[in-house]
Amino acid sequence: MDPIKSNLLSPVALAFALGVVARVIKSEFSLPRDVYAALSVFLLFSLGLKGGVELGHADLSVVAWPAVVTLALGCLTPLSAYAVLRGLGRFSVSDAAGIAAHYGSVSAVTSIAAVTFARGMNAEPEGFMPTLLTLLESPGIHIALAIGALKTAKPGQSVKSVLHEVLTGRSMVLLVGGLIVGLLMGEQHWAGIEGFFDTRGAIFKGALTLFLLEMGVVAGSRLSDLKRVGPFLLGFGVLMPVVHGLAGAWLGTLAGLSVGGATVLAAMAASASYIAAPPAVRMTLPEANPTYYLTASLVITFPFNLLVGIPLYFEAARWLHGAGGA
């Protein structure tokens, strides 16, 4: 089956679609808030643990270049998003900075979906991808918020407290903490819990499926906001990820990542945060309209990447690797 079709028929994509449909037919179905939170804790912590175990095997010299390009993406993507939104989209400073903070950061679930997809295509990504994920999460938010804070008179909250908020946020604690725990505990201890936390296992994939079912419900309940954001943001939510994704695939390939690794880095660059960024932006840039950034990241870009973007970045990575000699 071709990548796109196979991806559209994956449990995660179908579960997401089911969640959206449930909301469209006005079903009262939704996962309890706390269960949704628990699933995300499990997914992020598993990702961190597994990443830490793998990092223990990794050669530092192999990680160095990918880390550099990841940080570069973390600086470039918020700037490009801001420039496009302000220059072409004529958004206010606050709105442009608020949206840019989301596209400069990363959606962990998109990255997980990309890992699963790449594996399904027999292109196992490098084990240290979760490390890159943690590197990519916060710089973009800070850069975009800094622009917003510098250019608007009255910031909602001190930059320092928001910086703290982002660096100690749930996903950071679980990813970075999981990485360190995974690194420290070593293979033998990992063997005892691998059956539960393994990101290749059925429990992880099942939890991801349920999580996406609820994400579909959440996205579906904001579907009507699509009308409020205007055509520019609709186009931005699809084209900006493609640009960032191709940049990610290219830089990842340059940095020596495999096809799978480049696909995942591309998906991370292309993705927009919907966990860490929204509260940070809400507190720092109160004038930025939440409908814009939440709709763009959650209702447009997330499903686009999940359904179409990831296979696209995979093809790009494959092509780039082919052009590079393989």
Partner: protein, 100 residues
């Protein structure tokens, strides 16, 4: 029994504001506060949180003076850009001297 006449200020606000608001309340003279989770709908329709309508309902028993200061603060700082509602009621409080 001796009851003290005090004010009960109730704020319903976006969850993201909880910590900021409660520390400010203490700073402005409240001796404590009680928070419950809520959901709701309002006229301005700022769909601020991922799940629209989620909120925190903060109750604080204070003197009339402190109540006025709190309301002014909320009005100036939060009404322009955040989904917040604030109301005040008269209450009688047991051992009310503890809360002023």
């Amino acid at each position: 029994m001796m009851l003290e006449r005090l004010k009960l200020v109730t704020l319903v606000a976006e969850p993201v504001l909880e910590e900021r608001l409660t520390s400010k309340l203490l700073e402005l003279g409240a001796t404590g506060f009680t928070v419950t989770d809520s959901r709701g709908q309002g006229s301005r329709g700022i769909r601020a949180s991922t799940v629209p309508g989620e909120g925190v309902r903060i109750e604080v028993v204070v003197s009339a003076d402190v109540a006025a200061v709190i309301l002014q603060h909320v009005k100036d700082e939060y009404f322009p850009s955040y989904a917040v509602i604030a109301w005040v009621a008269e209450v009688e409080v047991v051992r009310g001297d503890k809360y002023v």
